[in-house]
């Protein structure tokens, strides 16, 4: 651990957000840390909220309440250029190897080759449901389904142009991106598989991509119907019918863009 990092760690603060303080030296400088949208919001004891530009270099000691902790450092901060509202923030994040003290990037490269991530309030259950969890958050990378769906425009805290709350759309998007047809947290796709998703609430336009065919319609609980599987070698319609009894009768040619659903997806037949 570098002397600077050691100095920083010596000043670790217990936070009101976190409930019981962790085993870290208290620091009266910080009153609380919260997650708002995709950004960390750090409030100092005097009430001042740190500007995002002041955050690089901050080390967050993150835990799940079990006593295990990870040290995550904010290296860079930038506004998401894909967010027309300008409210989404992306971070370059590193984590410390507890054995060696070395810092490495937290995120794998996304499709643009960038290693960025951000926090989102709440948590995901093992079966892929996003749930509210006061004071808690998850960290997602821009290459992950949770991160991508925010950047597609399905901000779980926001509303669509037609006024619809986007939280169920966000949940449906994560299912869709992962081809989690059954809604049980099991994905049926391969990384890097192109997809084209759209909705009826004005977030993602229905603009067919050449060569792609309609694949499925999705809701928060998984697929509403499936016309063809994204990757047949991974799962075909017969296997889906066996795995997801609720989809029986909703598989094959009868599934199209007219299905009552939140999101729709096209993909290349494989």
């Amino acid at each position: 651990v570098s002397p600077r990092a050691a100095g920083l760690l010596a000043a670790l603060a217990a936070l009101t957000l976190a409930g019981p303080p962790a085993a870290a030296a208290p620091d009266a400088a910080v009153r609380s840390v919260a997650v708002a949208g995709t950004s960390f919001r750090i409030t100092l004891a005097d009430g001042r909220v740190l500007a995002q530009a002041e955050l690089p270099g901050t080390v967050l000691v993150i835990g799940d309440g079990s006593g295990r902790q990870r040290r995550v450092r904010i290296d860079t901060v930038e506004r998401d250029p894909r967010d027309p509202a300008g409210e989404a923030v992306l971070y370059g994040l590193s984590r410390e190897d507890p054995a060696t003290g070395a810092w490495t990037s937290l995120c794998e490269p996304d499709p643009d080759g960038r290693r960025l991530g951000f926090p989102l309030p709440g948590a995901f259950t093992p079966d892929g449901r996003q749930v509210e969890a006061p004071g808690r958050f998850l960290v997602t990378c821009t290459g992950g389904a949770e991160g991508k769906c925010v950047r597609f425009g399905y901000k779980p805290w926001g509303t669509a142009p037609d006024g619809s709350p986007l939280a169920p759309y966000y949940q449906a998007c994560v299912r869709l991106v992962r081809a989690d047809y059954c809604g049980d947290g099991v994905g049926h796709t391969e990384n890097g598989t192109p997809i084209d998703l759209f909705d009826r609430v004005g977030v993602q336009a229905d603009e067919p991509a050449a060569g792609m065919t309609f694949e499925a319609a999705f809701g928060p609980e998984g697929a509403v119907c499936v016309r063809h599987a994204r990757w047949r070698p991974l799962v075909d319609l017969d296997a889906l019918a066996a795995r997801c009894p609720r989809l029986a009768g909703r598989l094959g040619e009868g599934c199209d863009e007219g299905a009552a659903a939140l999101l729709y997806v096209r993909s290349y037949p494989r």
């Binding site: 990378c141 081809a179 759209f198």
Partner: protein, 85 residues
Amino acid sequence: LGDGPASRGRRDARQELTMLKILALAALVLGAAAPANASLVTNSLTGNSLTTNALNSNALTATGAALDDLDGVRVEAVALPDAAR
């Protein structure tokens, strides 16, 4: 020589012709640009782009295997950089 009224008249005529050529060329350029611009608007990269219409590669891993421990977590402590203090 060449500076009499007739010569000035020819020179003025040439200048006028040159100006007309420039205007005609400008009109040609503007006329050609308009359809191209319209095409960009109706069938543009932004309208059906990787970002707007989400023709994106997907991700099987929810948050990335490296982040499994960072789901439903909380900040238990923080160390600020000196500049933020």
